[in-house]
């Protein structure tokens, strides 16, 4: 279901600061809207984004309804060693998705 | 145009107060100047009909039926909805005076 776009460099030099771009498809329903019948549309957003590098947390974000649909988050990290970068999104109504990418550090 | 120029000139000649001058300019009513972007004077051959030579009553009736949807249209229904009856009447009267 969930569709993610991730841009992590496959290779980097040791100590290099790399940019990680992420986008998760999600409508981010704000909870501030009403349907045609006047009933409030319940909030349905991604609330948490976590990035780990070989299991160690390197970045975390708490998201609010003011984040645009299809949350886009870009951050940086230092390429320390070869391994796996894992990205996890969690949200309302049990939303959970993750993406992995391997990076080779020379 | 020549008539309007002469008119403005004469009124300026007879000027009294600054405020009087605004009245001497014969400005088209609100919205009317935009119409000429699509509606050409007679002699220009396009798919869009000319407004010159129509009576004010004809233009008013047409605009009202565009606005109500009684007259099917492609774009004029959307434009007619931006004007009140008095605005349409003013535009129609102004076009009826154009030669």
């Amino acid at each position: 279901m969930a569709r993610a776009l991730v841009n992590i460099p496959p290779k980097a030099k040791r100590g290099e600061v790399i940019t990680i771009r992420t986008l998760m498809s999600h409508q981010m329903e704000t909870g501030f809207r009403y349907s045609t019948t006047g009933a409030p549309i319940p909030r349905d957003i991604i609330t948490t984004f976590i990035a780990t590098y070989n299991g160690e947390e390197i970045f975390r974000a708490e998201l609010f309804p003011a984040i645009a649909a299809n949350p886009f988050i870009t951050f940086t990290t230092v390429a320390t060693e070869s391994g796996t970068i894992e990205l996890t999104w969690r949200g309302d109504n049990g939303f959970a998705a993750s993406e992995q990418a391997t990076i080779t550090v020379e | 145009m020549a008539g309007r120029a002469l008119f403005v000139g004469l009124m300026l000649l007879a000027s009294v107060t600054p405020g009087a001058h605004a009245a001497t300019l014969e400005l088209p009513p609100a919205g009317a100047s935009s119409c000429g972007g699509c509606h050409a004077p007679p002699g220009v051959d396009t798919a869009v009909p000319t407004l010159h030579g129509k009576t004010a009553a004809e233009i008013v009736a047409q605009m009202q039926s565009f606005r109500s949807g009684a007259q099917p249209s492609t774009v004029m229904d959307r434009i007619a909805k931006g004007f009140t009856d008095p605005e349409i009447e003013a535009i129609a009267a102004w076009y009826a005076r154009q030669k």
Binding site: L5, N7, L23 | L12, H21, P28, S34, I79, E87
Partner: protein
Amino acid sequence: MMKHAISRRGVIAGLGAVTLGAPFVSAQAAPRVVVIGGGFGGATAAREMKALLPGADVVLVTNERTFTACPFSNLVIVGERELTAQEFGYRSIEKAGVRVAYSAAKSVDGSARVLTLEDGTTLPFDRLIASPGIDINWEGLPGYGMAAAEKMPHAWKAGTQTTLLRRQLEAMDDGGLVVMAVPANPYRCPPGPYERASLIAHYLKTRKPKSKLLVLDAKDMFSKQRLFLSAWAALFPDHLEWVGLSKGGKVLSVEPESLTFVTEFGRHTAAVANVIPPQRAAAIAAAAGIADATGWCPIDPATFESRLVPGIHVLGDASIAGAMPKSAFSANAQAKVCAAAVATLLTGGTPPEPRLINTCYSLVTPDYGISVAGVYHPAGGVIAEIKGSGGVSRADAPPDVRAAEALYAKGWFTTVTREVFG
């Protein structure tokens, strides 16, 4: 206020100076209006100004002797029209009594009310109307610049760029990938990229059916989107792919040597590359002090007078015109309203509240037209759409309605170019 000795009385031949005197002006002075920009906005304003105030000394400043119109230039790109059909001169405008200065506007002294041209001419004015249009923001897209535009044409100012893109499409082997980059708002002609995408897809489908167009867009939403998307799905399912912002469509940089587009999440290499770059008000706007930090010109919505420099009015693509899009139709409509406001101010009156109309036609194929229209008025300090008016063509319209809109599009171009340049 007239601060300058009148040196151009000779220009206003045929009109007795006495008829020109307004009470707040020295007795012999003709109001001097200088208009920057020979496009739809400027040329309309100059002509309308002269028609409303025949006694005024109206000077139109344009750096080209031939104006090349952008509307319908997408048909030129795909070989359905010749560039000469887009070209217009200023002879009729001169005949109407407007003096035309063929030079570029260089600087404006807003307090002394003098415009200086590249050729050194100085033009004092009582009111300046600026309709300078856009400049490409050459710093706005890394990798893109004037040299890159020879390899990856923008074709967003009609002329040699238009024919360059056309030649590249004609020279492309069947099976090639055409890639177009579309910027975020604001830019000239909001639906323009999508009309161009449609017509290129139509060209590929009919002439080079193994080829495809990839549109990389920095937006998720665009003008007439639903109409375009449904037309593309029906007409060009194999020839046009649109990638919006949230699908990774935003182009971060280009590599002109290899015709490569670098997006947030990938790379695309083209056989033919069309980069529609970020834009801003033409350079004279910043030089005149009428552009703000946004790169565009804030205005009073009733008179188009600059919020930054009194006595200068700004219209057309360079202005921040609220809900009105940056279109030739808008510029033409705004110019007439602006000229009326300037004429009223010069004769001591209070400009009336205007109504403005815009209609943007787009061609999906040469015989398939769609449109968005709006009626506008000043509200709350900006130009706002009148509630309940306007909108886009019906989604379920039959082919004869689409064909009629294509004809109306052509009718509009014929009429407006005749009104302005004919």
